[in-house]
């Protein structure tokens, strides 16, 4: 699989963002801070970005950052220029927090000097073009050399900033920001909109009505005030040392991202309603997506859920459909109860025998251990002290199995059958106490939904959830296998087995995903090749992959391409266990 440059780059950016955020978290000690990291600055200089994160972290630690954010929101509401106000916030915020940060962490001083040096080296020209930039340069000179004299026009501003070096409250910082903004950046503001008092007098109700913050005060989502303020904080604290032009272009790019995110959020909401809420945190999901959504799958997403029946949500069509299918499966299960029991017993004994065979301990003749009577004659007659037998156990404890079921629409007619087969495997594995996970996959829009019926460590009772299996939509087999393999590889057991029940028809073309980088459609040979590739990858990583073919005879060739010779073709549920057992035995043979 070839990774194109852009994949690497965005992954790198994500890691970078994470790194800068971590620095902010380290300094503030508050891992709930959700501020944008300044990646642009990092590309210019590592130290500028690091220092930016440090002072913001310190500001959040030592001052009431929500008070400052609220002030910013109000000032913007009254018509202040966003870019200029953020310049003022950056200058004052940094001035108020750096001494405290250095007091706690002596290493900050070196990072700060390095950041200033880099700013002077790399951005001197750019900075000297604007008032804010000139003030910053004057401040840097003051910080580095202690020189307080500067141009007359900047003197006042610099004094204001320097005056809050020992600030104790957020209000002092706010006053300085306001003075700096009104005094140097926008001299008409006070005349037009009033002084600090009138800014602070703006009520939350007024903010709520303003188009600027209406998203954040969206009643449905953020009903409590604290949450809204927290969101303002996140929104306004994306401040950086960039100039107005940079800001403008950045804003444009941010706007684009927001639309995407909105659309994605909607899709996400829809998926949650129809397939159930995710059991992974957003960040964890994103981490897995970054790891597996590559190549053909770039731009596609994953959703890990336990299904709608196990999450809250409206009683919609999907819920009713799955409930009905569950009932159907149960009926088929009751009708075939004896057959299923028989199959479970057969499969259990198959696996058990095989494991016991390999479980037999090896014995060695050694110098200590259990005495072997027929070797005792050697005592006094030879110098060979090997009179004992020692057993070396070969642990069979190291097994873990993943069962992955194709839950796409093409399995529609066989839903109950597939559910029963999976249930048989799950029960047999529980009988021999092998930890295993059962999940189905299908794709919806740009997301592949992994629906987990039971997790590795779940108790036996959870096996019956497998009977909730239902099929719909498309299937992106390769991506689903990658997602499962990703977590299977993390298991500590030495012997890992993946059983895939599918019909040999990977197919995901209904939706034209605008984010997809790959122009290839996921169907036919391309999809088969990708799935086969993922199976080979899993095998190369030490996972034993077994295909259980549930489809039609005409797709047999495709199945063969995907799984090589290691797949079981089930014509008839009667001999299901025998066949699967046989192939499983083969896998175990290879593993042990």
């Amino acid at each position: 699989m070839s990774l194109d440059h852009s994949t690497n780059y965005s992954e790198f950016e994500l890691e970078l963002e994470n790194r800068i955020r971590n620095l902010m978290w380290t300094v503030s000690g508050n891992y709930g801070l959700n501020e944008k990291a300044d990646l642009e600055a990092f590309k210019i200089s590592k130290y500028i970005a690091m220092y930016d994160a440090i002072w913001k972290g310190a500001l959040a630690k030592y001052f009431d950052r929500n008070a400052i954010s609220l002030y910013i929101a109000k000032k913007l509401y009254l018509g202040a220029s966003e870019a200029l106000l953020f310049e003022a916030v950056a200058l004052c915020g940094e001035a108020a927090s750096y001494k405290k940060a250095i007091g706690e962490r002596p290493g900050v001083e070196a990072i700060r000097s390095q950041a200033f040096d880099d700013l002077l080296d790399l951005s001197y020209d750019r900075l000297s073009n604007t008032t804010a930039g000139r003030i910053r340069l004057a401040m840097i000179r003051y910080y580095l050399t202690g020189e307080t004299r500067t141009y007359k026009s900047l003197q006042q501003a610099c004094e204001t900033i320097a005056s809050i070096e020992h600030a104790q409250t957020a209000l002092e910082i706010i006053a300085a920001i306001d003075a700096l903004y009104n005094g140097s950046f926008d001299k008409d503001f006070e005349l037009k909109h009033g002084d600090l008092g009138s800014v602070l007098d703006v009520s939350i109700a007024e903010l709520r009505q303003s188009s600027l913050w209406s998203d954040i005060f969206d009643d449905e989502i953020y009903q409590n005030f604290d949450q809204a303020v927290e969101n303002i904080s996140s929104a306004v604290m994306g401040i950086s040392t960039l100039t107005e032009e940079d800001k403008a272009s950045r804003k444009a790019s941010q706007a684009r991202v927001i639309i995407n995110e909105e659309a994605l959020a909607k899709a996400h909401q829809y998926i949650e309603i129809n397939y159930g809420t995710s059991y992974l945190s957003q960040r964890e999901t994103q981490r897995i997506e970054n790891a597996v959504c590559k190549g053909m799958h770039q731009g596609y997403g994953l959703h890990f859920t336990e299904g709608v029946l196990h999450s809250d949500g409206p009683n919609n069509y999907q819920r009713k459909y799955i409930t009905r299918q569950h009932e159907k499966n149960m009926m088929v299960f009751y009708d075939n109860y004896r057959l299923v029991r028989k199959n479970i017993a057969i499969l259990t004994s198959f696996i058990k025998n095989e494991m016991e065979l390999h479980d037999q301990a090896e014995t060695r003749i050694t110098q200590r251990g259990m005495l072997v009577p027929h070797r005792v004659w050697r005592v006094g007659r030879t110098n060979d002290p090997k009179l004992f037998r020692q057993t070396v156990a070969h642990g069979s404890y190291g097994f873990v199995v993943d069962v992955l079921i194709d839950g796409s629409g093409s399995q529609n007619k066989r839903q109950s059958k597939v559910a029963l087969q999976s249930y048989i495997i799950s029960e047999a594995l529980s009988n021999v106490k092998i930890p295993h996970r059962v999940a189905s996959f299908c794709s919806f829009w740009s997301h592949t939904i992994i629906r987990r019926f039971r997790d590795y460590g779940d108790p036996r009772e959870m096996n019956s959830r497998v009977l909730e299996f239902s099929a719909s939509s498309n299937n992106r087999d390769g991506l689903a296998i990658m997602a499962i393999v990703e977590s299977l590889l993390k298991r500590e057991e030495e012997n890992k087995i993946l059983i895939v029940l599918s019909d040999g028809r990977p197919n995901d073309i209904n939706i034209n995903n605008p984010y997809s980088v790959s122009s290839e459609l996921y169907t036919g040979n391309a999809a088969i090749a990708d799935t086969a590739h993922q199976v080979r990858f899993a095998r190369a990583s030490g996972i034993s992959v077994l295909g259980v073919f549930t489809g039609k005879e005409e797709d047999l060739q495709a199945e063969k391409k995907i799984f090589g010779n290691d797949f079981a073709y089930i014509r008839d549920i009667d001999n299901f266990s025998k066949l699967v057992g046989l192939y499983l035995k083969k896998q175990l043979d290879n593993l042990l």
Partner: protein
């Protein structure tokens, strides 16, 4: 009371342990004398365990003849406490590191051939029973449950070891067992109920700033105040980071931190020392960057050993 007893009394008083408990510990020491031949097995603690409540729980349990299981994450002082207990009670300690292949023969003993005779090669549990020692089961949950089940009769009220072909041994009255476990390490297993029920479980609290300062300043008395503050701060920063799932627990390594400080003592630059002891404990390059950044805010690159130690 012998000199050592007084020492122990002072030691326990320094940990604010209830006087009644201290009296009983001293009584225990006087009641069970120590054979000269095994006195070298009594642990001499390298560092102190701090935490009055945990101390009292452990002491009370051991005085009443119970075995204890110390459970807690990395760097909570499980082994330090076990060592301290052996010292305080003046009992020889027998350390057994459990692993997947731990079995009855490696714990209790196995036949061997010596001087033309088949003899029992005594295992640490056996010796513990004989000499009234403290058997320390390190990482008890790394072993398979069935391997440990041979100890059931040893650990419960029966207090016996019964090996086929040899006589039944009744445990020495002073013999105790202390298990340690780190729940959730890779490779650890769930302990079964039968085993857990034979222990009183002490949950070891995570190290706090106050204890950390005590531990480090005790090990390195001539550390400067600012260096002490930064080393402790760094450890707590990383601990918080690991608790928030941003990094693994690998770099949250008190042993590594102490070892780094040791190398600074003989002249290594602090930044390099911390790299060896903390940063490089992780092998993921991105994680290393994150840790590096945190270190950089605490330990300036231009710090010299002279900034860390008072000369």
């Amino acid at each position: 009371m012998d000199i050592k007893g007084q020492e122990v009394r002072a030691y326990l008083e320094g940990h604010n342990i209830k006087p009644e408990l201290i009296d009983m510990v001293i009584g225990f020491r006087e009641r069970y004398s120590l054979d000269e031949s095994i006195s070298n097995r009594v642990a001499v603690p390298q560092s102190n365990y701090y935490g009055t409540e945990v101390w009292e729980m452990a002491i009370a349990a051991l005085l009443r003849g119970e075995n204890i299981l110390l459970s807690g994450p990395k760097a909570t002082g499980k082994n330090v406490l076990a060592e301290n207990l052996s010292y305080v009670f003046n009992r020889p300690s027998y350390n057994m590191s459990f692993h997947v292949n731990t079995d009855s023969s490696s714990l209790i003993g196995t036949d061997t051939f010596e001087d033309g005779m088949v003899k029992l090669r005594k295992g640490p549990v056996y010796l513990c029973a004989l000499h009234g020692g403290f058997g320390i089961f390190d990482e008890i949950n790394m072993a398979k449950n069935d391997a440990v089940s041979v100890l059931h009769s040893t650990l419960d009220f029966r207090r016996i070891i019964d090996i086929p072909g040899y006589e039944k041994i009744v445990l020495h009255e002073a013999a105790r067992f202390i298990g340690t476990m780190n729940y959730g390490y890779v490779g650890t297993k769930e302990l079964n109920e039968a085993l857990v029920s034979r222990f009183l479980v002490v949950e070891m609290p995570a190290v706090t700033e106050e204890t950390l300062i005590r531990i480090i300043s005790e090990a390195f008395p001539d550390l400067t105040a600012s260096a002490l503050e930064q080393f402790c701060g760094l450890f707590l920063d990383l601990q918080l980071k690991a608790n928030n799932g941003e990094i693994t627990t690998k770099p949250v390594d008190l042993r590594g931190l102490m070892a780094s400080i040791k190398t600074i003592q003989i002249g290594l630059m602090p930044a390099s020392a911390i790299k060896m002891g903390i940063t490089n404990k992780t092998f993921d390059s991105f994680e290393r960057d994150i840790i590096d950044d945190a270190v950089l805010t605490r330990i300036p690159n231009d710090w010299k050993p002279g900034d860390v130690f008072r000369s």
